[in-house]
């Protein structure tokens, strides 16, 4: 089997995974609440994927996943891709780190990415004319979400490493 066909298979698998992730986010994870906030599976997936396979692939998943997510969540189309795509560049910094296999690396990058993601979305909404109380938004939305995202990262990073490790038979661009 050629390298290209394996690569195509990985892309289809990842796209299916993203759609499932968005559905899980929209149905199951909305029931997990910590001080009113919920975990963001898509953000965690994009950061972990970028750490494993680089910003190039991360951007693709951030764009595709973000668009699907906006359609499901009711956010203005393009908001989530705009907020997720910079995180890919941030996370790709850790790809070449000597600690690349350490579980704390994705946790660290998700902890960095969560507030940045939130600030971008809040800024976009503020530009649209929505009044934003930044202090409340940081303390009552972003901070609890950060805690949940960190917990989710421990699981997602582990699962992704095992999954991509078993399917990645050829080097990914």
């Amino acid at each position: 089997m050629s390298t290209r066909s394996w690569r195509d298979r990985d892309i289809y698998l990842a796209l299916a995974g993203l759609v499932i992730a968005v559905l899980v986010q929209a149905t199951l994870l909305t029931r997990i609440r910590f001080f009113g906030a919920q975990p963001d599976l898509l953000l965690v997936l994009v950061v972990c994927w970028s750490l494993l396979h680089g910003a190039g692939e991360g951007l693709l998943w951030a764009f595709a996943g973000g668009l699907v997510f906006d359609a499901v969540a009711g956010l203005p189309l393009g908001t989530s891709p705009l907020a997720l795509m910079p995180l890919c560049f941030l996370a790709s910094i850790g790809q070449t780190s000597v600690y690349a296999n350490n579980i704390w690396l994705p946790v660290f990058f998700v902890a960095m990415a969560t507030p940045i993601h939130g600030w971008i979305i809040l800024f976009i909404r503020q530009v649209q004319g929505v009044p934003i109380n930044w202090l409340d938004a940081n303390l009552k939305v972003i901070l609890p979400a950060l805690v949940l995202n960190i917990l989710l990262t421990v699981v997602v990073a582990h699962v992704l490493r095992r999954a991509t490790g078993s399917t990645q038979l050829a080097p990914m661009g």
């Binding site: 968005v22 986010q25 929209a26 149905t27 994870l29 909305t30 029931r31 609440r33 001080f35 009113g36 906030a37 919920q38 963001d40 997510f69 499901v72 969540a73 009711g74 956010l75 989530s80 939130g118 979305i121 809040l122 909404r125 649209q128 004319g129 929505v130 009044p131 934003i132 109380n133 409340d136 938004a137 303390l139 009552k140 939305v141 972003i142 609890p144 979400a145």
Partner: protein, 258 residues
């Protein structure tokens, strides 16, 4: 011989009794061993019945809860004082509760196919939920009144107050009724209802109760923190008021409370 027989009978009675008991026990063991296979299959059959009944029981409890909720919505639909909107309300099931932290919205299982349109108010028997923001063929997104982009013209229900303002959502906090005149009489415990001003929502829908009044001498307006009567985390069914038409010129999507 009779006395001898009697003496032997008396002497052997305890032994007979003991052996009889032992024989009964052995018989029980043999019978149990013989019945073991049939007992196992009987146990499996009864376990299956218990499982079925447990599932049925859970389903019935769920249906009972659902039935109760639908009855309450129906009673609200029949008895609510907003006579104008009677008969124009559709019951919708909540199929998703806002998947993002940055937008307070829910998704319901009705869309354009069922006559839903953007801007329609959404309520429960407990009060105002929000308004339809986006509509698909079979699903719609409802922007909750707790979202910062939501603005609802409201007033205090108390007869000697009737202060008006705008209830806006706050990120991670209770909605706030803003732009209340400084001289208006507002106290914690006051009920907040829609005023009908602006034409976005019908009049007299319950929004919540004032829990705190923020009044400072140097401000032009006072503010009141409102605790919504609707529990947005437990929404399962909602009513969409389909025969209320927002006034012309109202935005389909609320983007500012101004």
């Amino acid at each position: 011989m009779a006395p001898v027989e009697g003496a032997m009978s008396t002497a052997s009675r305890p032994l007979l009794s003991v052996f009889n008991n032992i024989g009964r026990q052995v018989d029980n063991v043999i019978t149990t061993a013989r019945d073991l296979s049939s007992l196992r299959s009987e146990n499996r059959r009864l376990q299956a019945i218990v499982d079925t009944l447990t599932i049925d029981n859970a389903r019935l409890t769920e249906l009972q809860t659902e039935n109760q909720q639908l009855r309450e919505l129906n009673r609200f639909r029949q008895l609510n004082p907003f006579y104008d909107f009677r008969g124009g309300q559709l019951i919708a099931r909540v199929i998703s509760r806002g998947p993002t932290n940055y937008l307070s919205a829910i998704t319901i299982d009705l869309g354009t196919d069922q006559g839903i349109a953007a801007g329609m108010p959404v309520v429960t028997e407990r009060g105002l939920v929000g308004r339809i923001q986006k509509v698909g063929p079979t699903t719609s997104t409802v922007l909750l009144i707790t979202d910062p982009s939501s603005g609802v013209q409201a007033m205090i229900k108390r007869e000697n107050s009737r202060a008006v303002g705008i209830v806006t959502g706050q990120a991670g906090a209770s909605p706030v009724m803003e732009y209340i005149a400084q001289e208006a009489d507002v106290t914690p415990g006051d009920e907040v209802i829609t005023s009908g001003l602006g034409g976005n929502f019908p009049k007299n829908l319950i929004i919540g109760q004032v829990t705190e009044v923020i009044k400072q001498d140097f401000d032009m307006y006072q503010r009141a923190v409102v605790r919504p009567t609707v529990d947005f985390n437990r929404l399962e069914f909602v009513l969409v008021i389909t025969n209320f038409e927002p006034l012309p010129g109202q935005p389909a999507e609320l983007e500012s409370v101004g």
